[in-house]
Amino acid sequence: MVSLLKTAKGAIGATVLAIAVLAALFADVLAPLDPTLQNLLARLRPPMWRDDAGQLYVLGTDALGRDLLSRVIHGARVSIMVAIGAVLVSGVIGTTIGLFAGYYRGMASAIVMRFMDIQLSIPMILFAIAWIAFFGAGLLSIIIVISAWGWVQYARLARSIVLSLKEREFVQASVVLGARDGRIILGHILPNLISSMIVMATLQLGEAVLLESALSFLGMGVGPPTATWGSIVSDGRSYIDTAWWIVVFPGAAITLLVLGANFLGDALRDHLDPHHN
């Protein structure tokens, strides 16, 4: 872990993610103001504006006079919750399916593989929108839809690793010694699988953040008054020439978080899997 943080990428990535998680956890304390508090007399104020009471609006205000910084800090919540939720759900499901598909080769495995090929060839955005039109745009609904999008990646990776692990001597030896499948899977396969899955999950974090923000931007994310980064940008669209800050800062927050997740993922991969490349 220490050596991981010594690489610049790993350190930057971990720091960014930590900040985002902290912002999400302690948004109520960290945000200078209530993110839903409106002041119609102070709409669209630029960054570093100070009101008569001396309150500083570091990132300016939005179209309803709400503090943009507070909204961006609270916006971390949805991004982090959706990203972590989706990565957990799709990671667990994808890994499990991939593991079994790799371990037990046969009819079922072949069908699962076909299914994954097919899923990769269908336009998931339409599926997502149909899903949200049906189930509504709650937090859970969005986590599910992003998981449905992402699980295939884990399943494919898990399956290919399991296939190669099965040929390795220590697994073959257990098989010869008559160990039970459950024992082999839990004792030998899973532990050797887990690090690659963690790398995958970290990289998928960024992907999930991007998808959530895109859905939010299209008006299909968690609705108001909850602030999400995608929806703040979307709301700022009509003010882009008069109040650039509404669009620029939350977008930068998304980019930073994704960047952090990607950095950490890269560093983890180099760290856990030095033979990669």
């Binding site: 940008v233 650039w244 980019t255 994704v258």
Partner: protein
Amino acid sequence: MLRTIGSRLLQVPIALLGMTLIVFLFVTASGDPVLLLADPGASDADLEAMRRELGFDRPWIVQYLSFLGDALTGDFGTSFRHRLPAMDFVLGQLPATLELAAASLVIATAISIPLGITAARNKGKPIDLVATMVAVLGQSMPVFWLGMLLILAFAVALPIFPVGGRGTLAHLVLPAVTLGWYFNALITRMVRSTMLETLNQNYVRTARAKGVPERRVVMRHAFRNAQVPIITVWGLQAGNLLTGTVVAETVFSWPGLGRASVAAVLARDIPVVMASVFVFTVIFLVINLLVDLSYYLIDPRIRQ
């Protein structure tokens, strides 16, 4: 190889069947299209009559099967909203989307390949840093945000390009760059790393030692090998391209199938939804088929 292509072709009907069934179920179950078609103030009797007319009074399975039966004959039904054959509407919206997607792939490829090659040949120098930045940022920026930053920079601050809509070639530039940026990042990264590997391989060194001109070494020997991963990226990203298209079309008010298909889902215009799903799925499958074929053409080893 033929087996790969064969199994791809086999997937086509299954993918179409699965996708249409899922989307059909969700869309039908999620709302009543009649409420959208009727004028506010329509009486319940009017609504009931409209439902009957459009066939919504039947069980969903009957509706789906009858859709399927008609689709097999090429008839996707009539759009509830637009009152014209759904497939005609979808195909009418397709060119704008294809234009945007093609332009973005051209831009992405035209920038990323030279950038990736140059970066690999100058590892650690400023140009390499630029390439890495491009790759890293491109993968981290949300498409909609990039689009708006481009509007801010090149349509508002420096009014070089129009902010949106479709018309002249200039209208195409910002949306295409927006959509292509992500692919540019992926391909740059891919080209750079593959080139780094191949430039150090024996046959490349041999070619150099033999006095083959550098340009020839790079293009003939090294770049050849970089083509496979690039094509893989194209195939894998076909799905992302559609998501990007929906977003880019929205940001730039670009008319196209991405936006139209989302509008159709929201309006429960089931024939148009079905026809869009069909067209998109076929396009993806064709792209993947082309990708398989290109492997075959580029890399003789796969032929065996």
